[in-house]
Amino acid sequence: MKFHRIYALMARHLYLYRRSLPRMMEIVYWPLLDLAIWGFITVYLMKFEGQIPGVVTFFLGALILWDVLFRAQQGVTIAFLEELWARNLMNLFASPLKPSEFLAATMVMSILKVIAVSVVMAGCAGLFYSYNIFVIGLWLIPFVVNLVMTGWIIGVLTTALIMRFGQEAEVLAWSMVFLFQPISCVFYPIEVLPSWLQAIAWMNPAAHVFEGMRAVLSATVSPLVHLAWATSLNMVCLSLVVALFHWMFEFCRDRGLLVRIGE
């Protein structure tokens, strides 16, 4: 893997952000809108603070962490879509660039996006709702790392499907992640799910992260078991989707889809 090729793709995307208002708005506008809606819901729910302790922390914390996952997924998928829209895939893949370097660049871009969005959201949550995300403490770091990895998994899976099925599958870039939301148990504990769905949810690394976050906030049990599960599942799933992406790349080369994908 060559760093200069990863850096080339990053530079290409950073040039885009430099002069694109819609792309900059993606970092600020949607996160702020999310925060406003969920912030007001939380303010309303604070009336029931007695019945549901720590309601603000649960909801706003969950929202910010969900956005970490969402932006990590978007960072990967949108970077691929940008190349598709620009009909630039042939320029890239007829160069020495390897598929793994392409993925690495999208992942680094997604980290930059997550950092930008998280700073905006955490800052605004503190400013408007006096909410401090760091109340979760140092546990926040492994939680965020795991959510970024889960975002990559969904992002790489989505990208592989778009590469295979073309622009018709573009809608997956925005919808796929929400397929995982109910079983990620972002805003509710896993026990509320029917037992058959709980079994599926436990296979989702994000569910372990959010369960772990609730464990930290309620100070009942250690989140270590959840973190261990989340990390292990993330490693396995990430390896699988990266292998799938490589397989799909070869499949598309064989079918000539790589050069027709943007047409």
Binding site: A8, A11, Y15, L16, S20, E83, A86, R87, E250, V259
Partner: protein, 244 residues
């Protein structure tokens, strides 16, 4: 077997999409410093051949070797030394001309990037639009950007698909002179596809004529014209295209 001096050796290359055979058992060589014309009507398999040579389409069977290495196994090393320009492939539209060239330079790991970008911009007379956003370029300017991208990396083999298709005659002439000069000074080898028969005759050392995925004629323009008993290459093209 590749000739001892060939930089590109294509052997029994086949590409099949389902039942459709786009490229049907073609073999040819490209020699150092040679300009090889790839001619044929639409659907003859020229673009598919170029896409296979660039590694973006996988052959069904046959082999492609460049600089004595197999493309499938030495893809990275080979692609570092070749480049392409096609009228049908664009560059990211939201970036300026110069930004696009910088990205390509980084992608190929070039050194002294600013100097090389300045040089290619000057040589292809792109100064007046080097800071322009790509989507605002005329089609002729976009073609020149595609060529600049291809020449920037100083490839040993260049694949050109209709390189002068949207250029006015003056610029097209300059591009042809530029290409010949590059070939003379660097020993660049070029595989060149065009629908402009006069250009093909003027530029190519040899021509490969493709029809329905097969090579139906190979040789110098004069040899091909003589073989088909026509007045010029254009008449040969029309005759073969109507037979298809």
């Amino acid at each position: 077997m590749p000739t001892p001096t060939s930089v590109l050796h294509v052997q029994h290359l086949v590409k099949q999409f389902g039942d459709f055979v786009a490229v049907n058992d073609i073999s040819f060589d490209l020699r150092p410093g040679e300009i090889l014309g790839l001619l044929g009507p639409n659907g003859a398999g020229k673009t598919t051949t170029i896409q296979m040579l660039l590694g973006v389409v996988k052959p069904t069977s046959g082999s492609i070797a460049m600089f004595g290495r197999d493309l499938e196994t030495d893809r990275e090393a080979i692609l570092q030394q070749i480049n392409f320009s096609s009228t049908y492939v664009s560059m990211p539209q939201a970036l300026t001309v110069e930004e696009n060239l910088w990205v390509i330079a980084r992608l190929y790991g070039l050194r002294q990037i600013q100097q090389r970008v300045d040089d290619i911009v000057k040589r292809l007379e792109m100064e007046e639009f080097r800071h322009k956003v790509t989507r605002k370029l005329s089609s002729g300017q976009s073609t020149r950007l595609g060529l600049a991208k291809a020449f920037l990396t100083e490839p040993k083999i260049l694949l050109l698909d209709e390189p002068t298709a949207s250029l006015d005659p003056d610029i097209a002439q300059k591009i042809r002179s530029f290409l010949k000069e590059e070939r003379r000074t660097t020993g660049l080898s070029v595989l060149y596809s065009s629908h402009n028969m006069h250009e093909m005759e003027a530029m190519s050392d040899r021509i490969i004529f493709l029809q329905r995925g097969k090579i139906v004629a190979e040789g110098t323009a004069q040899e091909i014209v003589a073989r088909f008993g026509q007045a010029d290459l254009e008449e040969v093209f029309v005759k073969l295209a109507r037979e298809q």
